[in-house]
Symmetry: C2
């Protein structure tokens, strides 16, 4: 098979490893933001952010050449971040050259004015329908950090989409001895599970910083409080996912993704800084002003839940951790968690 990856960020690029190691023809196309990465890949066969070289035989293209690169591809992998969703729509999805199925790694949800949360595949399909364009868009969810995939760490993910044959074709192309792929038709469930985990991972990471504030920065990790927040996160995720109609398998993918997100990357870092008592603006500045996708998702979900609560469809008291995280990142609230609000009383007289 031939696979065309568009977007050479870390996750899109990491998928070139199983794709190429499986013997497929692989082309990696940068977006206009990826110029330097593609330039470097052409020169050294290595991504600037990975410490392993790519498998031999991958071809690299700048975005101007994408229509030439995509010729003959069996499917396209969309590797843009959530900030590139509209760019990908306008520059790739609407074009006639993008007629093969798309597999998206972009994680996130879009909240509509009525509090409905839709996945990016659905968002794109709605926008394309307005232009009478039809595309088959699948997506990847699950606990997978790109640099560990590159390292051939054992990884479990799921692909979601509407069409069995397409999903099976994509699985066949990418499944390796270390990349294990489940398949599901539950697009909104999978995409919700892996998007929702963001705000909750931040909430759990707050407890690490809070312990440091209490006991000093070198106090070591305190797992009781992390686990207490993890427990509450799973309670709230279950409720939200039931609202979204998610299957139990997708719920569990979300729990695995929550676990990995507490340990990897920038969501953890900003959570620890906020937990220490550093203000949101200062924390973002300390992380070089990077806007975090995970915080955008957390805000969108909180906004949607508040709208639904105002209509009496849900109760905000069922989501104390989400509301707390929203308060910390949007209103400068102190990070100390509302622990007692995480307790329940399931008892009868």
């Amino acid at each position: 098979m031939k696979i065309c990856i568009i977007g050479s960020g870390m996750m899109g690029s990491a998928l070139a490893f199983p794709a190429r190691e499986n013997g497929n023809e692989v082309v990696l196309v940068g977006t206009p933001l990826d110029r330097e990465i593609i330039f470097e890949c052409k020169k050294t066969n290595q991504h600037l952010k990975f410490d392993r070289v790519f498998p031999q035989g991958i071809e690299y293209y700048q975005f101007e050449e994408w229509k030439q690169a995509v010729v003959g591809a069996d499917f396209i992998i969309c590797g843009v971040s959530s900030f590139g969703v509209d760019w990908f729509l306008e520059n790739v999805l609407v074009e006639k050259e993008c007629s093969v199925p798309v597999l998206s790694v972009t994680k996130g949800l879009v909240d509509l004015p009525d509090g409905t949360l839709i996945s990016y595949p659905e968002y794109w399909e709605r926008k394309l329908a307005e232009r009478n364009v039809s595309r088959e868009i699948c997506a990847i969810g699950g606990p997978c950090t790109s640099y560990e995939l590159v390292y051939h760490d054992q990884t479990e993910v799921a692909f979601c989409g509407k069409n069995k044959k397409t999903l099976e074709m994509m699985k066949k192309a990418l499944a390796t001895s270390y990349y294990h792929i489940s398949l599901t038709n539950d697009v909104v469930g999978l995409e919700s599970a892996v998007a929702l985990k963001n705000g909750y991972a931040l909430g759990i990471a707050l407890t690490i910083g809070l312990c440091e504030r209490e006991n000093g920065v070198d106090c070591g990790l305190h797992y009781n409080s992390q686990a207490g927040a993890f427990y509450q996160a799973t309670r709230e995720m279950k409720k939200l996912l039931q609202m979204q109609g998610a299957t139990e398998n997708c719920e569990c993918i979300g729990f695995g993704d929550l676990y990995v997100t507490v340990y990897g990357g920038r969501t953890r870092k900003i959570g620890i800084l906020l937990g220490r008592g550093i203000s949101y603006d200062d924390a973002v500045a300390m992380l070089n002003g990077v806007t975090l996708e995970s915080l955008v998702v957390a805000k969108r979900v909180a906004r949607a839940i508040k709208i639904r609560a105002s209509r009496g469809e849900v109760q905000l008291k069922d989501f104390p951790l989400l509301m707390h995280v929203d308060g910390v990142i949007c209103e400068g609230k102190d990070a100390q968690l509302p622990w007692e609000s995480f307790t329940f009383e399931d008892i009868m007289e």
Copy 2:
């Protein structure tokens, strides 16, 4: 109130902190195995395994004096390990001095010959009923390591029992600014959730050792594989807990407990050793021959599931991680996880 703790292991002793800090009268009674601990407590007001002294005013007793120590107590906390369950039955529960309610910290399940898994409170109640003795037995479950409780780390737990008033009395006695207590009538659900997590925590810890085997002992932590095993653990725990009739709140307490168990204590240590490829016997020897409660529970649950599978009530293929852990600890199977068996296909034509 007056609280009598019998069993001065780490968890029983740790509960003396919130109990006493709340202003209750607290007596801590050692079992015959705890002689040295009580001796040391009397001398220094500190437990041998804790780095903080007890709050002032706790009284310490050797087991011979327990009938004198318990006079006037509002409830008894049972602090014995699962290996002391029958000892506690014969030496405390059957005695007329043990007439007040009991709150047990002992974690585990007992498998009956037909594959039914019952909680320790139910086990004790059955044994006592044979002697026409009636006791009110409640239990604690949830993500709580003793040394972090001593450290006043924020902690979320649940108390289970049949009687609302008793549970509320126990919560009032022990709830502090750092010990947060949910209440539930779902005894078998809570006790199953916190027992089941043991085998699964071992399964997740195997991945840490496996990564070390692959990449060297100083390779750092690989979270993709931990998270992949965590995802599968939650899938199997959900199925088992649904079989046990557990509530969703207890399920989430179990997920929090799974999280904390991957990080704390001996289950993690033996999992890492087994993952590295060290044999079960050698790994146990390296941990000074300590028999691990968690492994006993894992074996019992696996045995029960096999019996139920032989009757066609469940399918073993739904529990590949549990069966794998059982194979590693009982049959010397290699630790490499059956990753592909963790995938699902929820797709229609």
